[in-house]
């Protein structure tokens, strides 16, 4: 069964585009990353999945059931971590956790204690004294403490220091090993690379790609960084290898984005007097830039 399913899901805010015709399936037990730049429509999609806003057209389903108008029991299965967290400032963290547990029938005391310890969170303070990071921790605890079957997170790493962020992703992976579906949006690509089974890329409200992380377009690319001694190659020569650009801070260094097979690439590079050579797979960051950066901008400093 799909934990999440959307069919032709669109949302307009008046005449402004939110998302357009999003078709996506997230299988139960998957860790699914949802990536795109700011304003691409990630949060809109999540809010539609949660029934916080209504679609202009199309449909969203959770565990095979249409997202209910006005919420309801279906949300016993879902833990949600929004990107911006706001709670009742008069409460302490403990008050909020107790209040949150009242919405569910699951005993959550043990989970709260474990999560509190792992995320190094002090729940006894007043909410208005919490930093952005601590509010995020509180939000994560209250979303995970009731043993959800699906966890939806919007920019989960924002506001967390690297150690806590790592701990969070460890927790998410552990939950996933127990069968929990994880769906999260981010524009931090190493978070996606680290734990996701599949990703969807969204740009300007439209879904560009959906697939396994290692099958993303651009995964066949090679990133070549090299230093050529002596006579420098012409732009035309380098263009035969791929999209090349000089590295401004390092004279005689070039960075080339090549789609040639490795043996052909090495053969082509062997004609130069190389003082430094590194060939690597592109990071998601580089694929992301390839997909999102306007061609015109990419063309600046480019040899092709």
């Amino acid at each position: 069964m799909n934990a999440i399913e959307t069919a032709g899901l669109s949302k307009y805010y008046g005449k402004n585009r939110g998302i357009i015709d999003i078709n996506m399936q997230v299988k139960e037990g998957e860790i699914f990353g949802f990536i795109g730049p700011n304003g691409a429509g990630k949060t809109t999609t999540i809010r539609l999945l949660l029934g916080l806003i209504r679609s202009t057209s199309g449909e969203a389903r959770l565990f095979g059931k249409p997202v209910p108008a006005g919420g309801g029991r279906l949300y016993t299965k879902i833990g949600y971590v929004p990107s911006e967290v706001t709670y009742y400032p008069e409460m302490t963290g403990r008050d909020l956790l107790n209040y949150s547990s009242g919405f569910y029938e699951v005993e959550s005391k043990r989970q709260v204690e474990e999560l509190t310890e792992r995320l190094q969170f002090d729940p006894e303070k007043n909410i208005r004294t919490y930093s952005h990071g601590n509010l995020k921790k509180l939000c994560i605890i209250q979303a995970l403490m009731q043993q959800p079957r699906l966890v939806i997170l919007d920019e989960p790493g924002s506001g967390l220091d690297p150690l806590i962020r790592k701990e969070l992703f460890d927790i998410l992976e552990e939950l996933n090993q127990k069968g929990v579906t994880i769906f999260f949006s981010t524009h931090v690509l190493d978070e996606i690379e680290r734990i996701c089974h599949r990703v969807a890329m969204i740009k300007e409200g439209r879904l560009l790609q959906v697939g396994p992380v290692d099958k993303l377009p651009g995964r066949d690319m090679h990133i070549v960084v090299m230093k050529i001694a002596g006579l420098q190659p012409s732009k035309v020569e380098l263009a035969r290898i791929g999209e090349a650009e000089e590295i401004p801070a390092k004279p005689e260094y070039y960075r080339v984005l090549s789609r040639q097979p490795v043996n052909m690439l090495v053969a082509n590079l062997s004609q130069y007097k190389l003082e430094y050579l590194r060939i690597s797979d592109p990071t998601l960051e580089e694929i992301f830039m390839e997909l999102y950066e306007p061609a015109a901008k990419r063309g600046q400093n480019s040899y092709v």
């Binding site: 809010r47 949660l50 029934g51 916080l52 806003i53 209504r54 209910p68 108008a69 006005g70 919420g71 309801g72 029991r73 279906l74 949300y75 016993t76 879902i78 949600y80 929004p82 911006e84 706001t86 709670y87 009742y88 008069e90 209040y99 949150s100 009242g102 919405f103 569910y104």
Partner: protein
Amino acid sequence: MIAIVLKELKLGRRSLIVWLAITFITATLGALEYEMVSTNAELVTQGIDAMPRIVRVMFGIDGVSLTTALDYYLVMYFWYALIAYAHAVSVGSSLLSKEERDKTAEYLYTKPYSRGTIINVKLVVGIINVAAMALLIWLTSVFILVPLTNGREIMPEIAITTIGLFLTQLLFLTLGLLCSTLVRNSRKAVSTGFYLLLATYLIAVAIEYLGTVDYLSFLTPFHYFNALVVVKQGISPLFLLLFAIISALSISFSHRLYNTRDLLI
């Protein structure tokens, strides 16, 4: 659900205490003035009669002689009612909208209760709030005003007018709730509620001032359980029915609108 009720009551207690304090201070000031007014009743009545009638109508002192304890209570009732209705509108219009104003809607509405359930629970909280106001008004009338007047004979009038007041509070509560679902911006929702209260007050003033258009009383909840009429004739079944219809429609429309609209997050 009890958790939401308790949370709402806890978070709203300061505001309620302020409203109760305003009512209590009004009652106390009224009680302090009673002796002076009762001993100079004729003089005060002459002074009131010297005022333009529109002013007398606006301040609830038209046709009141102030020579009896009941008259004095009815003048005080007018002020209690204004405070209580303003409170009811304020509570009703902010019950839902404050979650969006305070950015807590994203938290609350992703919990496993439907928006409909949350509306109902918050309505219960609103009813408890307005009931607390009505109870205080009844208590202050009984325990502060009645002993001063030595007039225990007005206890039944206090009871029935307080019931009328409570019903009108409930009506303004539900109308306030409707405002908060019609107007998405929380501040505008509260101000719309107060504009509605003001409009119905002005209609009530106009009807009373003109004196010939009583059939328009259905336009203003101020007249549904008008204290002077309720004391003389009891609660009108017609207006009781109207109260029930308007309240039910307000709640029903609030559900329908709120269930289908985008939350402001």
